[in-house]
Symmetry: C2
DNA sequence: AAGTTTTAGACAATATTTGTCCAAATATAA
DNA sequence: TTATATTTGGACAAATATTGTCTAAAACTT
């Protein structure tokens, strides 16, 4: 199962850059980026966007990865997870249709 | 769409108790309980369990409500929500089958 | 071995969540 | 209406969690 960290690492490997360089470009501490790649920290959404832009990765894909990992982390040890997700989706749809958009 | 707050309020109305009484029984500030009922605060999981026990409500149902509201709150303004939830579920299942249980 | 890159961990700064209190608002009863 | 009781809003401090920064050790390259 490919993690967000894997994606970031692959992207960096793909262009053969060292952390120090990426760090300078995206203005994020290299130690943080290292941790993102090893899934020891989660980037903020802003950081994620900056990395996506720099690496030319799909915003959408990264955001999906980012949110889904957050949710999975939360529910990992919980029961009834598929019901929870089903209800969550209903609520979201309800919300979206009733407050249209924002 | 029935909220967690609605459920708690209905339960209390069902047994006709005032906040002060419930508060004393479950040891949660009455103002907090009021806010739970109005969805202005979210109970902690522990508080939720104590309320469930006191009101004789299904733990499972309340937990589903609690988590799904949390997730919905997070994703409310996001795009690709159904994809996010789909991927989240895959990750959870992956996690559960590979670390079986806990 | 020397130099470079990556990583772990401690730490302060910041932000978020939580519990508590009280007085204003609302409802109920006399 | 007035008096009494209940509910609610809001401010605040305490506790907890997240975030960014730095440093030096570990791992890797030359």
């Amino acid at each position: 199962m490919k993690t967000l960290g894997d994606t970031l690492k692959e992207a960096r490997d793909g262009i053969n850059l060292i952390l120090r360089k990426v760090s300078a470009e995206v203005d994020i501490d290299q130690s943080l980026i290292s941790k993102f790649e090893k899934n020891e920290r989660k980037p903020t959404k802003e950081q994620l966007i900056r990395l996506a832009d720099f690496y030319n990765l799909s915003h959408k894909d990264l955001i999906i990865s980012w949110y889904s990992e957050k949710i999975a982390e939360d529910l990992k040890y919980s029961e009834s997870t598929s019901e929870i997700l089903k209800v969550a989706e209903e609520k979201i749809n309800y919300y979206k249709t009733h407050n249209n958009g924002k």
